[in-house]
Symmetry: C2
Subunit: 338 residues, 2 copies
């Protein structure tokens, strides 16, 4: 019996060593130096409505955002700087529902939200219902680093932005004909009692980064939902709902129908399934999106990244604009299901 026991223990030990080094299929074998992952929203333009020229515009801008972050990482920059840089590119583009391209609320105004979280320290900053801040993710970072608060809203948040010398823009800056027409259409549809949800294309942007020091960061920025009620806050600026980062588990940025992400505390739930249930990153993300979110009737997706460089990009919508680049591999940009 003693011999059997020894053999069993040896085999179990060997199995454990093998499990750790070889990784499950979705795990990376070799520790990677730096990783950048971004999204430009789930439930976006339908594949059938997309043409080659439009698609190229999106691909180019996603590539530009991805590389803006990744180049910083390669130079030894922090994951926070990389996340912010990638999101800034998307905020400054009219293609996405964040910053310049923010959608219109029901009252014809733009209201933007953003959040950023540092996976090393657990510090976080977020803003909601800001209307004149050119780059809401910059303000979220200032809230994290220069205030004693985590979440600031509306005029109070903009007052803080002014104190910190951030660029404020007149409302006209955020006016884009495309988003305005989207509101007009949404209003018309509402009159016809049609399901307004189908019109609420998200286009929220997000970024995750793993830097040379092994630190994760996550950030998300959005203009909310077209024709939403004035003052509605979605999941984006809520730590644990739409944005979360912890070196111990993972970094997550979500996009989609925010109310479902708030009730499900989706971003933190993914981290909790990794930390408490021992799920791999991919298992946790699959469970969160294809089981829990889908069962609840919610639509959307997440990008997720752990400190070993594993990446997950999952959605239950027709598409999610997304991209990643890892170590010395080629950048990958995807718009629809592959």
């Amino acid at each position: 019996m003693k011999k059997h026991t020894c053999t069993f223990i040896m085999m179990a030990g060997l199995y454990l060593i093998c499990s750790c080094t070889r990784g499950t299929p979705e795990q990376k074998k070799i520790p990677v130096e730096t990783v950048m992952v971004i999204h430009g929203g789930a439930g976006v333009i339908r594949q059938t409505e997309m043409n080659g020229e439009k698609e190229q515009l999106y691909r180019d801008k996603l590539q530009e955002a991805l590389m803006a972050g990744f180049n910083l990482l390669k130079e030894g920059g922090s994951s926070l700087d990389a996340v912010q840089a990638a999101i800034n590119i998307m905020e400054d583009s009219p293609l996405f529902n964040a910053g310049k391209g923010a959608v219109f609320a029901a009252n014809g105004k733009n209201e933007m939200d953003a959040a950023i979280m540092d996976g090393k320290t657990g510090q976080a900053g977020a803003v909601t219902c800001v209307r004149h801040v050119k780059n809401p993710i910059d303000l979220a970072r200032l809230v994290m680093e220069k205030s004693e608060h985590v979440l600031l809203s509306g005029e109070g948040a903009e007052e803080f932005a002014r104190e910190q010398g951030l660029t404020l823009m007149p409302e006209e800056y955020f006016f884009t004909e495309y988003r305005w027409q989207q509101l007009i259409r949404a209003r018309e549809k509402e009159k016809q009692m049609m399901d307004s949800l189908a019109q609420n294309k998200s286009g929220t942007v997000g970024a995750l980064a793993l830097d040379r020091n092994g630190n994760l960061a996550a950030g998300t920025s959005t203009g909310g939902r077209t024709n939403k009620r004035y003052g509605r806050i979605g999941d984006t600026p809520l730590i644990g709902a739409g944005t979360y980062a912890d070196n111990k588990s993972c970094a997550v940025s979500a996009t989609g129908h925010g109310e479902y992400f708030i009730r499900g505390v989706v971003a933190y739930d993914i981290a909790a399934m990794i930390e408490y249930r021992g799920f791999s990153l991919n298992e946790a993300v699959q469970e969160a999106i294809h089981k829990k979110l889908t069962r609840a009737g919610g639509s959307g997706g997440v990008i997720a990244l752990d400190a070993r460089g594993n990446i997950a990009m999952t959605f239950n919508t027709e598409g999610m604009y997304r991209g990643y680049i890892r170590g010395n591999e080629e950048a990958v940009i995807l718009l629809y299901k592959e």
Copy 2:
């Protein structure tokens, strides 16, 4: 060896059965019909500054709130109704930092937040930065039941309140000499570069209920922090941070230094430790407050309740106004550590 194995399996089975039926020390043996738990804030008036008359005022009001909810439960009312009724009593009292007694932000205004969550359906509603709503918890419930959103803020939230016929009050209603003096003192202290945190007595109120149908509900209502930055949002209205309920795990309402509760996603973390790590309610709450929150440097406490009627009331401050009543037991009201 076979005999040994059988004996082992039998003993293990017996142990499991014993564990399940006898319960750990903090578990209730007998399923209880209805339970009500409330808090009136952690980090409140110091025991040394409290006198007999003042203490009686607090005890009486806590008892009134507790019984307002519990009486509804006994009559077969829902946990949501009970939570709302208990919080209404505390919101209408100047003794607590919610509704009538809300503290003043740095700009001399009152800004109130509230949230409610249904443990059966996972539905939730919350409001933030409202300034004229007499009972913010009522508005949170309307957001849950009459809107497609979870979280509404500021003027947009008040516009919705008007549409729903809720009572709005002029700003003067929320003026209490005590809170005003607290702001004056906080401002003076700030000038003297003293630690403003010590002055930020919370006094947030919260309630949890378990009804006859075995459904949990949680609610929290607050005026925020004295001398806080205008537009600051704390943990109270954030589902998963200061308020959470799920029949599968537990209901939680938090009070304290909100930023720490947001970053730690404390309310949902307690639920996740129960669901994913198999912790008892008490183990989860101890871990969340005395380990995680304390290590992070945060102060505050939570009340928690599970669907078997187990109660936990834990804080790392000098006191937390709190009370509970379960089945046919006597109501218990506590102010400080016991």
